[in-house]
Each structure stands twice: as structure tokens, then as C-alpha cells.
């Protein structure tokens, strides 16, 4: 399991990757963000969650520093004992939400992934 971001000609990185990046350029490389720690930019504990989602569901926008280039992601956290600015690291989980419970087609989703835990 990887957490692939795309790298573009100008050095910028996006997660998720897009087929066209800045200036309409194609991606030139991928970066596996699961190999990095990240910093919490902001977070929330959601208590009104949709079918198939854990309750409460603590989420954060985190920022990775990949060799001087920053890239952000929205992730689940393992705990709500967290503050803005905390460093977090990925922990593999087999299921982020129950595939059959939501309205999207389950097979269209990758349901395993990473939760992030304070370092």
C-alpha cells in the first residue's frame, strides 16, 4: 500500500495526483507520502458521520515536507489528542470505512490506507 503523490516538471507535488499539473504539464514522477511524517495544519472531530464511517471520526489536513517541497493531504487521525502543529506518522489500516455502506460503488474505491498517529 502506498500513498502516491505526483511530481511535476516545476518541482511541485500534488496529492492526489492529476493527469495535468501546473501549466498543463504531465507528471514526471511519483512520491510515496507514506514514507514521510507530516505536520497537522488543522483538525476536527466529526461526530455526525455517514453510514460506514467510524464515529467519532477525527480528521486532519496535514502537510508533508518532501525535500523542501510541501504537499498536503486530508487524513484520518488515530486519536483526538492532537494539536495544530503536531508531527504525525502514517499507520496502515485495512479499512478506512466500510465499503458497502456508502452510496458510492464499493469497487471504485481503495478502502485500505493510512491513519496518522502523533509521533
Amino acid at each position: 500500500m502506498t500513498m502516491d503523490a505526483y511530481k511535476y516538471e516545476d518541482g511541485s507535488i500534488s496529492y492526489p495526483g492529476h493527469p495535468r499539473g501546473p501549466g498543463g504539464t504531465e507528471p514526471v514522477d511519483t512520491v510515496d507520502l507514506s514514507e514521510y511524517t507530516a505536520e497537522v495544519v488543522t483538525w476536527t472531530k466529526s461526530t455526525a458521520t455517514p453510514p460506514g464511517v467510524r464515529e467519532p471520526n477525527t480528521l486532519a489536513i496535514v502537510e508533508f515536507d518532501v525535500e523542501g517541497e510541501s504537499v498536503r493531504a486530508i487524513v484520518q487521525l488515530t486519536t483526538d489528542d492532537v494539536e495544530t502543529g503536531d508531527e504525525v506518522e502514517p499507520v496502515y489500516v485495512e479499512e478506512l470505512r466500510e465499503p458497502g455502506a456508502g452510496i458510492r460503488e464499493p469497487e471504485s474505491q481503495d478502502w485500505d490506507g493510512y491513519r496518522f498517529d502523533p509521533v
Binding site: 492526489p16 461526530t47 455517514p50 471520526n57 484520518q76 495544530t84 456508502g102 452510496i103 478502502w111
Partner: protein, 385 residues
């Protein structure tokens, strides 16, 4: 390019309604035809703003069905879906149809039927607009609001109470709107002690789940004079998008779609933020009222909360009344209807028909936000000279 007039408006009772999407759309459509004094056979284009009747109800093909129910055949029909900004996008589509000369009488009806679904199901239908990397985390639109609100409060050292005061103000305005879902005041203590939904935001920071419909009748200014001496003109309108993926925005407190659509609407109209007398902003969450005030130039970045604290946006005493209708917060948010209903409120304000909600206004603005700022329509209307 034709100047486009609005000559009629209507909205149904918002809230938990009997009947299904077609019933609601028909109710608003018939009332709008009556309000404008236009025969259904005169309607050349019929637009329906609706996000998800297929997902909520299993009903598709709604525009054609509505044309039949209104006896508006053979009008051209089209559904406009832009998630929560479907209504604003409908105004843009209807404006384009008239401004281009393609139609001399365009009826826009927006609506949504949602309350038969559980809160979790409705939340999931709405969250399905997110990117898969967002959706699989279980993120909801309220979660985005919680993430953004915490960032805003921490970064700009804004008090939590200022967000609560948005809810208090809009509920107070909704008391005088007979079509509003909630016609009751709430005090700040109630807002701040309500259950947490996505901290730091609580239940009263969020709009409800709502059924309802609203409609507007548009035609060229030259045609409007055949029907009435009193009407409203769309002075400026524009739409814009921001990133689909919310966390990819460089600054979480700037909604690029609001900024860009606002710029376009101001440029077309020749007006600026200081010219606006009244505004309807998309307060699906209290934090959104701040972000739109700043994106539209009513406040500097990080300072909208100060204007709330000063009473600048109060209906009866403020310099710029915002959400005189009660906003989505109190009036309700039937997705496809909301942007149209914003237009209905500004139409009524400019026509002097807002009753106890009336403010002194010649120029009004609506800002309708889809997703979490993913797509935005800003419209500026003025009373006919």
C-alpha cells in the same frame, strides 16, 4: 447583449414537506407564473436547478416532467446541477438564455426533496461530491467546515463567539420570513452549548436538511416593460471554480471561486463592494459567511469576524445587512433551491416587497457556493431605473 430583467419570483414553504420533488417544483413554478403575470405557453426556456433527485428520490427526467405539469410545452428544458450552487448556476444559465437572445421568457425553478432520508444518508449523498481521496476518509461537508473554522480562529485570533453571532443574527432574521424552516430566535449561549458536530463547530453552526423550491422569471428588459413597470435587472453575474480537492488550496481561508466570481460580477455591473446595499451569502456553515464577506471585498482577510462583532451586518441597524432572509442557516437549504431563493430575497428587497425584513436597498448581491467553495456563482441585481 440584452439586459436581463427579473419580473417574477416565488418560493414554497421550506422545511419538512409532504410531496415529492415534482410537487415542490410545480408549486413554485405555478406561483412564479402567477406573480409575473406570464402564461405558461409564453415560456421558451425552462431550467430546473437540482442536485440529486436521482440519488435522494430515484426520480430523473425532472425538467421535462415539470414542463408537462406546468403546461409549458414545447419549452426547451434543461437540468442544472452544480451541487449546492445549482440554484446560482441556474440563474446564470437562465441569464445566458435571455442575454444571448435565445429566449424571450425563461422560467427557472430550483428545488430539492431531502428530509425523507436520514441525516447520515443525506450527508453521504452530499459528501459524494468529494474526491475519492477525501471521501474514503469519511469526510463530510460539515467536517470541512470544522477544519476551516479551527484554522481561521487560530490564525486570525478570532473569538469562537463571533461564529455563534452569525447564527444568532440569521435566526433572528428568519423569524420574519414566513417561508423559513426555523422561525425562532436562538441566543448565543444556546449556540455555544449545542452538541458538537465537527469541533469547534456545533449544531447551530450548521444549516438544516430541508425540502423546498423557489423560482424566478427572466426576460429581456424590453419585454419586461410589456408586463410591469416594476422589475429588477441583473447588473452582473459570473461563476468560477476552485480546486475539487479542498486541501490543495494554498490558503484554506480563501475561496478562490468566491473571489473570481465576485470580480466578474463586479466588473460586469460596474459596481464594487461599497455599492452593495444588501447581500445573501451562502451560510451553509457559519464560517462560510466570514469567508464570503472577505472574498467579496466586504472585509479584509481575517477581519470579517470584527464586522459581526460590530453589528455591521445586522438587518435593521447595520451598514450592510447580510442574509435578511434568515440565510440557509434559518431559512433552510434545499440544495437546488437555495441559490434561487437567495435571488428571490434580493428581488423582494429591491422591489420593496420584503415586509418586516425590508431594508433600504437599490443594489443587492447573492453568492451561492457549491461543495466547500468548489464552484461559486455571484449575482448582482439592481432595481429598474
Amino acid at each position: 447583449m440584452e439586459r436581463v430583467a427579473v419580473i417574477g419570483a416565488s418560493m414554497t414553504q421550506f422545511g419538512q414537506r409532504e410531496g415529492w420533488i415534482l410537487d415542490l417544483l410545480s408549486e413554485a413554478g405555478i406561483e412564479c407564473l402567477d406573480d409575473a403575470g406570464v402564461d405558461a405557453e409564453a415560456v421558451e426556456h425552462l431550467y430546473v436547478s437540482n442536485m440529486a433527485s436521482g440519488e435522494f428520490e430515484g426520480q430523473t427526467g425532472v425538467p421535462n416532467a415539470l414542463a408537462h405539469d406546468l403546461d409549458a410545452m414545447p419549452a426547451y428544458t434543461q437540468r442544472v446541477d452544480q451541487t449546492s450552487s445549482s440554484g446560482g448556476a441556474g440563474i446564470y444559465a437562465a441569464w445566458q438564455s435571455v442575454a444571448s437572445g435565445a429566449s424571450e421568457m425563461t422560467l427557472l425553478v430550483g428545488g430539492e426533496k431531502m428530509t425523507h432520508r436520514t441525516t447520515g444518508e443525506a450527508t453521504d449523498v452530499i459528501a459524494s461530491l468529494t474526491h475519492p481521496v477525501e471521501y474514503k476518509t469519511g469526510v463530510t461537508l460539515p467536517s470541512f467546515a470544522g477544519l476551516t473554522a479551527r484554522h481561521y480562529l487560530e490564525r486570525f485570533d478570532a473569538p469562537r463567539e463571533s461564529l455563534g453571532k452569525v447564527a444568532v443574527k440569521n435566526h433572528k432574521n428568519g423569524v420574519d420570513n414566513p417561508h423559513a424552516q426555523f422561525q425562532k430566535e436562538v441566543d448565543l449561549e444556546t449556540v455555544l452549548e449545542s452538541p458538537i458536530v465537527a469541533d469547534p463547530l456545533r449544531l447551530y453552526d450548521f444549516c438544516p436538511i430541508t425540502d423546498g423550491s423557489a423560482a424566478l422569471m427572466l426576460c429581456p428588459k424590453s419585454v419586461a416593460k410589456e408586463y410591469t413597470d416594476d422589475y429588477v435587472v441583473i447588473a452582473g453575474i459570473d461563476g468560477a471554480t476552485d480546486t475539487h480537492v479542498v486541501h490543495e488550496r494554498e490558503d484554506p481561508t480563501i475561496m478562490g471561486g468566491v473571489v473570481e466570481s465576485g470580480k466578474g460580477a463586479y466588473e460586469m455591473s460596474g459596481y464594487g463592494p461599497d455599492d452593495i446595499d444588501v447581500a445573501e451569502l451562502h451560510d451553509m456553515f457559519t464560517i462560510l459567511e466570514f469567508l464570503q464577506m472577505e472574498g467579496l471585498g466586504f472585509a479584509e482577510q481575517g477581519e470579517a469576524w470584527k464586522l459581526i462583532e460590530e453589528g455591521y451586518t445586522e438587518r435593521d441597524t447595520g451598514e450592510l445587512p447580510i442574509n435578511t432572509s434568515g440565510g440557509l442557516k434559518s431559512k433552510g437549504h434545499p440544495l437546488g433551491a437555495s441559490g434561487v431563493a437567495q435571488g428571490v430575497e434580493i428581488y423582494e428587497q429591491l422591489m420593496g416587497e420584503a415586509g418586516p425584513r425590508q431594508v433600504d436597498a437599490d443594489i443587492g448581491l447573492t453568492c451561492n457556493v457549491g461543495g466547500f467553495g468548489n464552484c461559486v456563482i455571484t449575482t448582482i441585481m439592481e432595481a429598474a431605473q
